[in-house]
């Protein structure tokens, strides 16, 4: 047992698999991954970048415990979080605490329709064919990079979701990952297989709950298979403490007419290295990525997105907005790749960053690789500070400068928040964003949320004067910032 308490090694991989009582094929998969990990150099980033990729390479992996199983189920913090969870009605629930899944629930009706929601450890035993076919093969292959190989060698717990043909799940499924052991590593895996014509909304939350300064490490992988005409919406709320480092690799594979949405909200973690992909392999498939981040103190993010068009008539849109303050640093690399056979493709990417302090730094590198000739693709990136004239305008209306800044930041985020499909997640994001800015009042975000939602719901007053008759563009105009 001692071999599995500190550091990464081949022996630790073998011990982990033995403890879990895994079949031989999974042990072999882990050992293969270990070999890939050993033989793959750590990515070090580009010359002259902000150094985040290199920082992850230099993390002291030998100081962490790669397997912290939990026997007592939910902590008081998790219990409370579930009561206040942003998804109040849900079709299913999975809670992972460190290396162990401690709770799984699934609506009985869905179970009777053949939906499978379980931890991945159980799926290895109960659905070996599906796991062998889909687990780190085609979507996020073991060999993708050094960290995916590390993940494949040490994964534990995890979510396995299978939606049979034609089953549409309306209420969201909530997955929570909790890290409450210092100096630990968690390798959480989410595998979603949405069969033909099925649909699901999945909400993933990453939280941590420990105060120890010894950092922990979360290396997670999310794999989404959207089969023909399936729809998958995946919302991710990352609110880890500043003593957690996070490396994440997420990808969605699209078959014909499939559509997926990534909603990625990154607020926490000390260092965050993210690779987010959309593999558009089926004719007519559609991918959307909406990203929001807010960094402060000495947080460092490095975010890489890839819209990979490999089939005819595919569409992708990536929209990322972020705010930086204090000494935080964020790198964003957004790539649009259109393969030669992917004609009639449309792909758009935009990344807008607002800097609130003089010490923070942001770097944005959009990229295009176009191999087809019948393509509509564009990208745009802006980085800037709050406009002094806008501030003056708000101040002349009685609003003090710090709050005026908060209002402008909220306005900056609003267009992407409008794209967040889950109302509760939207509200929680608004609150988190306001709270991140110093000096806010307790009710400030709620006032804003209430007003916003209420005006939207109640609409216009019937006694109101209509001067020019109804206009064509009466919906809320939220122009790009």
């Amino acid at each position: 047992m001692t071999i599995l308490t500190q550091g990464l090694s081949r022996g630790a991989v073998e011990e982990l698999s033995r403890l879990k009582g895994e079949p031989e094929w999974m042990l072999q998969k882990r050992l293969h991954a270990w070999d890939v990990y050993e033989s793959t150099p750590a990515p070090l980033g580009r010359r002259g970048d902000l150094g985040t990729v290199r920082a992850v390479a230099n993390f002291k992996y030998q100081d962490i415990n790669p397997y912290v199983p939990v026997t007592d189920s939910l902590s008081a913090t998790i219990e409370q979080s579930l009561r206040e969870a942003m998804v109040d009605t849900r079709a299913g629930l999975v809670v992972q605490r460190n290396a162990s899944v401690v709770r799984t629930e699934l609506d009985a009706e869905l179970r009777s329709k053949g939906v499978i929601l379980t931890d991945l450890d159980s799926a290895v035993r109960e659905y070996p064919e599906l796991v062998q076919q889909y687990f780190m093969t085609n979507c996020v292959p073991v060999e993708s990079n050094k960290y995916t190989a590390m993940h494949a060698a040490f994964w534990s717990g995890g979510v396995f979701l299978y939606i049979p043909k034609g089953v549409e799940i309306e209420e969201p499924i909530l997955s929570q990952i909790w890290i409450d052991a210092p100096a630990s590593a968690t390798f959480a895996h989410t595998l979603i297989i949405a069969e033909e014509m099925s649909s699901v909304r999945f909400v993933n939350e990453y939280n941590s709950d420990f105060t120890d300064e010894r950092p922990s490490f979360l290396n997670d992988v999310v794999e989404v298979y959207a089969r023909n005409a399936a729809r998958v919406e995946f919302s991710n709320m990352q609110d880890l403490g500043l003593n957690v480092w996070n490396v994440t690799n997420k990808n969605a594979v699209h078959e014909k007419d499939a559509s997926t949405t990534w909603v990625l909200a990154d607020l926490g973690s000390k260092v965050n290295l993210a690779n987010i992909g959309a593999s558009l392999r089926g004719h007519g498939s559609v991918a959307e990525l909406v990203g929001v981040f807010f960094t402060d103190q000495d947080q460092r993010f490095s975010m890489h997105t890839l819209s990979d068009h490999a089939a005819v008539a595919t569409n992708a849109e990536t929209l990322v907005k972020g705010v930086l303050t204090d000494q935080s640093r964020v790198e964003f690399e957004g790539m649009i790749r259109v393969q030669p056979k992917a004609q009639q493709t449309a792909s758009f990417l935009s990344d807008h960053t607002l800097l609130l302090s003089k010490e923070c730094r942001a770097e944005s590198i959009p990229g295009l690789e176009i191999g087809a000739n019948e393509v509509s693709a564009s990208h745009g990136a802006t980085t800037g500070q709050i406009d002094e004239e806008q501030l003056f305008y708000l101040m002349v209306r009685g609003i003090a400068r710090p709050e005026a800044e908060r209002i402008i930041v909220q306005g900056f985020f609003e267009p992407v928040l409008q794209r967040v499909p889950l109302e509760n997640l939207r509200a929680r994001l608004r609150r988190s964003i306001v709270r991140r800015m110093r000096g806010a009042y307790e009710s400030e975000a709620d006032t804003w949320v209430d007003a916003q939602e209420r005006w939207e719901i109640e609409g216009v007053d019937e006694h109101a004067v209509q001067l020019d008759g109804p206009k064509a563009d009466e919906e809320i105009q939220l122009s790009e910032y």
Partner: protein, 274 residues
């Protein structure tokens, strides 16, 4: 007691260049003053300096409002004392709806003449503050919108974002109606408006005038004064008020232009925009 805005010997620079060069002016609640003058004479600068725009540096003189020297006050505190500026070029703020913004603005202005503390205490505890219930606010806003015949679609749009010139000016007047200032500075409110829009905006201003509102109407055309009758007319030239009179002065300007008022010692100086 009638509120007074008193400007004494005001000098101000932008980027080291002097724009205001000794302005003296008194505007009282209930009075309508027109401030006229050619482009670049310093009219807009005066409005911005009165509100405390940090772009400008006050090098000499005083601004008194309600018996307090407000020169050191932040723009938001001046607004909470019920000074108002209708901008010549209102800023658009994407993603912030007119409704939410106006509600916050009204809450802030109702806090009155004091510095506003931040909500979060050094302990990290967040404070609470008074807010106006959405329903009460909506009733009030809709009353003002009816008074000014403003289209309801305004409220859910982002502030000035994609607004036409006329819509922006009307949104400014709506804000003025809601915030109930004691002295309002209206900077070129007539510029960029066609004749119909000018009429609507002027009627809106007339609907708001009364014993509680003093107005300083900045314009370089006489045409708005066809609709709004000023009690006093001042002419500004190269950073100073060179002539003051009653409403007949406006007609005289219309007839003769500004040249005859140009001080002899400033023949060769070129005005600066603002």
């Amino acid at each position: 007691m009638v509120s007074e805005l008193i400007i004494k010997n005001l000098h101000a620079n932008i980027e080291g260049k002097p724009i205001l060069r000794g302005v003296d002016l008194v505007v009282k609640q209930g009075e309508v003053h027109a401030l006229m003058g050619p482009n670049g004479s310093g009219k807009s600068t005066l409005a911005n300096v009165i509100m405390g725009n940090p772009k400008y540096e006050v090098t000499d003189g005083e601004i008194w409002f309600k018996g307090e020297n407000i020169l050191e006050y932040s723009p938001d505190r001046r607004a909470r004392m019920r000074l108002f500026l209708a901008f010549q070029y209102p800023m658009s703020i994407p993603g912030v709806s007119v409704a939410n913004f106006l509600r916050r603005s009204l809450e802030a202005v109702r806090e009155g003449n004091k510095p506003i503390a931040e909500g979060e205490q050094p302990s990290g505890k967040m404070g609470k503050r008074k807010s106006i219930p959405p329903r009460e606010f909506r009733t009030l806003l809709q009353e003002k919108m009816r008074l000014l015949k403003v289209d309801n679609s305004f409220i859910n749009r982002s502030i000035n974002d994609g607004f036409s010139g006329g819509e922006k000016k009307r949104a400014e007047i709506l804000q003025m109606a809601l915030l109930e200032p004691e002295i309002a500075l209206m900077d070129e409110t007539d510029s960029g408006l066609d004749i119909d829009a000018l009429k609507i905006v002027s009627e809106s201003v007339n609907a708001l005038t009364g014993p509680n509102l003093g107005i300083l109407l900045i314009t370089h055309y006489q045409r708005m004064l066809n609709y709004i009758t000023p009690d006093f007319v001042h002419v500004m030239f190269n950073g100073r008020i060179v002539k003051s009179g009653g409403k007949e002065l406006a007609f005289e300007l219309e007839e003769k232009g500004y040249e005859w008022l140009k001080p002899a010692d400033e023949e060769n100086e070129v005005g600066v925009n603002g």
